[in-house]
């Protein structure tokens, strides 16, 4: 499968659950640069997960959606995304290698020898060499999220949607995994939902803050440096700025 770089733009979108009488998102605009990380920040309950799940095709029937989604380089989103959530979503009845190859259970393609070899390589890549046959229950939280990362890589989709993938981890583990993810997902178009301003600042090339109710998104300009960024005075200032603009919704 030849890799194609893609970009997604969402224009004037609104989203409403059918059984609710108020839209969650309205006048929402978002541009995800090709092969870059885009982060979305926003207070709890503002609709971040709903948006992501809509993009992932998980909300088709019970929501009302209006707005345009323009895709570059891919035909549909549906077949071109990989999904990572806050929970690692490892199937507890499968060992590490089977979890990494989980997507093959749903594809027409049988797991070939090369696929298998690649899976082992990816497990090595995320730093779990030799643990391919371990069951998830034996792994720590950080290691489990590494397996989830390997699974995402194994899917090899151009777009990766991530819903607070690191928020269940402690500070140091999170820091290490952020670095790893930035490295291995370098050529993907990534949408990262997070609560953590620092995480967003460290990883994203574009950053949006969701505000208001129904929520819209405002964009923040970031320094044009490579990710993962090292935390410096400029980022510290940006962080304070983010917190201030998020706090608006809390009063």
């Amino acid at each position: 499968m030849p890799k194609q770089k893609v970009g997604i733009s969402i224009c004037n979108a609104s989203l409403q659950y059918q059984d609710s009488n108020q839209a969650i998102i309205e006048h929402f605009n978002l541009r995800m640069p090709l092969g870059k990380w885009t982060a979305i920040l926003g207070k709890s309950g503002c609709g971040k997960t709903s948006l992501l799940r809509y993009l992932a095709g998980l909300l088709n029937e019970n929501v009302l959606w209006s707005g345009d989604i323009t895709l570059h380089g891919i035909e549909t989103l549906q077949d071109n995304i990989a999904y990572m959530a806050q929970q690692d979503l490892l199937m507890p009845w499968l060992n590490v290698i089977d979890n990494v190859c989980f997507a093959f259970k749903f594809s027409d393609r049988r797991l070939s020898d090369t696929d298998n070899k690649r899976a082992f390589q990816l497990i090595d890549l995320v730093g779990l060499g030799g643990q391919a046959l371990t069951m998830p229950a034996q792994l720590s939280g950080g290691m489990r999220q590494r397996v989830a990362l390997a699974r995402t890589l194994m899917q090899d989709k151009p777009v990766v949607l991530m819903d607070e993938p690191f928020s269940a981890l402690d500070a140091v583990t999170r820091h290490r995994l952020q670095g790893l993810a930035a490295q291995v997902l370098a050529d993907k178009t990534v949408l990262l939902i997070t609560h953590d301003p620092q995480e967003a600042l460290r990883l994203s090339d574009a950053l949006y803050i969701m505000q208001g109710s129904p929520a819209g998104a405002i964009s923040l300009t970031l320094p044009n440096t490579a990710i993962p960024r090292v935390f410096d005075a400029q980022l510290a200032k940006l962080q304070q700025q983010i917190i201030d603009s998020l706090e608006v919704d809390y009063v």
């Binding site: 998980l58 069951m135 229950a137």
Partner: protein, 271 residues
């Protein structure tokens, strides 16, 4: 104070902290043994002291005697009851699983059948045992159906709950991977429901013997329930207690067997 703290841990966690596990379990085995012996001695002395006639309360010695004396008959009848239980379990478990699956897959079925299923629970199964006998006769069929009926509801609920409470994240993940409805069922819902199914089986294994024995009580010519009835009618309460003891032992072994199998087959259930 430290005691209160350590009690807050579940047993399995506590065991992890026990440095030398074997002496500990030996100690608790010894404790069980001692309390059992104490209880038996108490029982025997009550019988002796109040000179209770054996049809009111037989002495443990008499019961033990019966166990030895009539072991062949007890064994034969246990075998019959065990058969009824096993067949009832197979029938009830498969019916329950099937029913739960149907409710999951065919929405109208669920909407129409679930309320009826729940309402039917208010009717104690054992109360319709006499009529069941008239329908199915006094052979093994009625006992098997009785055992199956009595476990049907708990099994169905456990299976259905397990099947529909698949963590939504698992489903989301599989759906983004392009899973079809059937693939979801096979690769996600069913394996994820196994622990719930296991707890259904645990409940079933406990109540199925009750179903079988109640069935035998209402009419039968063999089995432990029959033996108890017969012994009771003949005022041989010691024999009745012996049969009761065997029945208890049978239930316990069945439970531990099931537990062992489940732990072997679904090792991740403790998550």
């Amino acid at each position: 104070m430290s005691k209160l703290i350590s009690e807050n841990k579940t047993l399995s966690k506590q065991i992890n902290f026990i440095p030398k596990a074997i002496p500990q379990s030996m100690k608790s085995l010894l404790r069980i043994f001692i309390s059992a012996v104490t209880l038996i001695v108490l029982w025997q002395s009550i019988v002796l002291f109040f000179a209770l006639p054996s049809f009111i309360l037989p002495s443990p010695a008499a019961v033990f005697n019966k166990l030895l004396e009539r072991y062949d008959i007890l064994f034969y009848h246990s075998w019959i009851t065990a058969q009824e239980i096993i067949l009832g379990l197979v029938l009830g478990l498969s019916m329950g699983l099937l029913f739960a699956l149907q409710m999951l897959l065919f929405d109208p079925l669920r909407r129409w059948l679930l309320p009826i299923l729940i309402a039917s629970q208010a009717i104690p199964v054992f109360a319709i045992a006499p009529i069941l006998m008239l329908w199915l006769g006094y052979g093994i069929a009625s006992k098997v159906v009785m055992a199956a009926l009595i476990i049907f509801f708990p099994v169905t609920t456990c299976c259905y709950d397990g099947l529909r409470n698949t963590p939504s994240g698992y489903l989301d993940l599989a759906k983004t991977m392009g899973a079809s409805k059937w693939q979801l069922l096979k690769h996600v819902r069913l394996p994820a429901a196994l622990p719930a199914l296991a707890s259904g089986i645990r409940v079933a294994v406990v109540v199925a013997p009750i179903g079988a024995v109640v069935g035998e009580w209402v009419g039968s010519s063999e089995g432990l329930g029959y033996l108890m009835l017969q012994a009771n009618a003949r005022m041989m309460i010691d024999e009745m207690f012996a049969a009761l003891f065997i029945l208890a032992a049978l239930s316990v072994s069945l439970y531990f067997l099931a537990d062992l199998l489940i732990n072997k087959l679904i090792p991740w259930q403790h998550d």
